[in-house]
Subunit: 122 residues, 2 copies
DNA sequence: CTTGACCCTACCATTCATGTCATGGTTTAT
DNA sequence: ATAAACCATGACATGAATGGTAGGGTCAAG
């Protein structure tokens, strides 16, 4: 199938499909006219890419194990676990930061509201 | 004081101090030679800016209430509360997303580890 | 008077997946 | 054969604070 059809089927923009190819995630054949020709497998492949992007992984990280996980179970692909662990550590760090900021914001909001209430009571 | 001294005192880079000015957060005088001349109040002002940046607010948001909060209590400045509320909502959204990703990652990591363990037991 | 330490402006780079043009070739249906 | 719909590449923009560099003025101490 051509790129437009793959885009329609997967809901991923043509632009992104070309980007994935540039990043080594997709390798479509080329017709005589230069058009990209995707196999039926490409559809699942794109959904897999989208899934990993949704986990916050970069295209570079995904490229490191995509071929493997398309064939085998994740547990078989040794590149997957370290990437997951690294990502998890980053997420935990971000969560800690955001949680601290949230506490701070909530305190300050509560304080401001309390002050305003006092104001009204006067 | 000149920009280098303010940078040294606050730990903020000269580059950033100039950026804050560009964003309307600082308005130093200018000497005859074109050098920026900061008042002693600028030091506290910069620390205040840094504090709000640390809460994740943008320079634009900070610019909206900085002059007020430098003089009054936060609760007096009506622009502060909506900014805090907006930021809090964004943070909550990010937390929800990150928390979901974390759960997903932890599950998948646990699964992979379980598989590997089985492997070793065989 | 020279040297080093300071200051100035203006610009590019950074991250990274995606959107959006511009420009032009190809295919399909009328 | 012509128009509409498709495809191609290449390039710039995005967000937002900060780092870095280039090219050039200013000041203070020796």
């Amino acid at each position: 199938m051509k790129i437009g059809e793959l885009a329609r089927r997967t809901g991923v923009s043509i632009r992104s499909l070309r980007y994935y190819e540039e990043q080594g995630l997709l390798k479509p054949e080329r017709g005589d006219n230069g058009y990209r020709e995707y196999s039926v497998l490409a559809e699942e492949q794109v959904r897999t890419i989208q899934f990993y992007l949704g986990l916050g992984l970069s295209t570079e990280q995904i490229a490191g194990f995509l071929q493997c996980v398309l064939i085998h179970k994740e547990a078989f692909c040794s590149e997957v676990l370290p990437v997951y662990e690294k990502k998890l550590a980053e997420i935990e760090e971000q969560l800690a930061l955001l949680t601290a900021i949230r506490s701070n914001l909530m305190e300050r909001i509560a304080y401001i509201r309390a002050e305003s209430t006092e104001e009204e009571e006067r």
